[in-house]
């Protein structure tokens, strides 16, 4: 989807972070973008309905919320791929699961808020599928952030 409207562009490019934590944040954010609070609210609603933005608000960091998060990968035989995806996805602890171009062709994120729960989920998946799960918890994070330009 191409974004041509200058107000929409200003909101997407200018509001990907630092939304003010103030009494009238839309007014304060608008002052920097040259827009009124009403214009921002209306534009954000329109972008949400159009699906150009998926959310407006805080981006929560699962790891910052006491939770544990693992990236895991499996090498799934082609003919069993969809069935294994279903077995993996059936666990509520799996938030994201992607098919990727590699011998390790299934990559998913397991998160849990109780210590030890991730290991249990991984063991369950291994026993349900009969396939090894390779766990790749993060050791260090080098994160600065990403801004989409439209």
């Amino acid at each position: 989807m191409a974004v041509h409207d200058p107000t929409e562009r200003a909101v997407i490019n200018g509001l990907q972070g630092d939304f003010p934590l103030t009494h009238e944040p839309f007014t304060d954010a608008g002052a920097q973008l040259g827009l009124s609070a009403g214009e921002i609210i209306e534009t954000v609603s329109r972008l949400l309905s159009a699906g150009a933005i998926s959310r407006f608000g805080p981006l929560w960091n699962a790891e910052g919320l006491n939770g544990e998060v693992y990236l895991c990968a499996m090498a799934v035989p082609r003919e069993r791929f969809d069935a294994v995806a279903e077995q993996v996805n059936a666990h509520p602890e799996i938030a994201h699961n992607y098919e990727r171009t590699h011998a390790l062709n299934m990559w998913f994120v397991v998160s849990a808020d109780r210590p030890g729960r991730i290991d249990e989920v991984v063991a369950e998946i291994e026993s349900e599928t009969g396939l090894p799960v390779y766990c790749m918890p993060k050791r260090r994070e080098f994160f600065v952030g990403f801004r989409v330009e439209v």
């Binding site: 934590l21 009494h23 608000g57 960091n61 993060k138 050791r139 080098f142």
Partner: protein, 158 residues
């Protein structure tokens, strides 16, 4: 550490902030506290890193960033501390992590997610990382996602 008010605030905002002139007051009404308390809590959570940022969360796919490439690098363990932050600082890298290897199947220890409007564009960005890391990276690959099998948001119970 999160207390029950933090969790109520998370639950009330995980699908987004109310689009009204005083969104924090609206959240305060929902969780049964005052606007100043909500603002103070959000400031603390932002400072702790529990909130990465507040604002528009773009839908990369809808905006044309359809090529989601996970570039993976086999980098000398000693060099990761120096190179990781430099890779993470590139403006097209969304996340950069050090993770364990699983030899012999998986030799890569540094992961950097890049997004592009096409695989060619994503590959150009990976080439930029390759120039940055130079021979310190013994090998690298890009794994593109070919299908989203599941995608749900964070779920936090109040």
């Amino acid at each position: 550490m999160l207390d029950s008010l933090d969790r109520r605030i998370i639950a009330a905002t995980q699908t987004g902030l109310p689009l009204v002139a005083h969104p924090y007051r609206a959240v305060a009404d929902l969780v049964g506290t005052d606007e100043v308390v909500v603002i103070a809590r959000l400031k603390r959570l932002l400072g702790q890193g529990a909130i990465r940022r507040i604002g528009v969360i773009p839908n990369h796919y809808a905006l044309g960033y359809v090529a989601n490439g996970m570039s993976v690098w086999d980098i000398d363990d000693e060099a990761v501390a120096e190179l990781g932050p430099r890779i993470g600082a590139l403006d097209f890298v969304t996340h950069c992590y050090e993770r364990p290897r699983h030899l012999p199947l998986w030799r890569y220890n540094v992961f950097a997610m890049v997004h592009g409007r096409s695989r060619a564009e994503a590959n150009e960005k990976v080439a930029e990382i390759a120039r940055l890391v130079g021979p310190t990276a013994r090998a690298h690959e890009v794994l593109f996602s070919t299908r989203i099998l599941k995608k749900t948001g964070l779920r936090i119970a109040a």
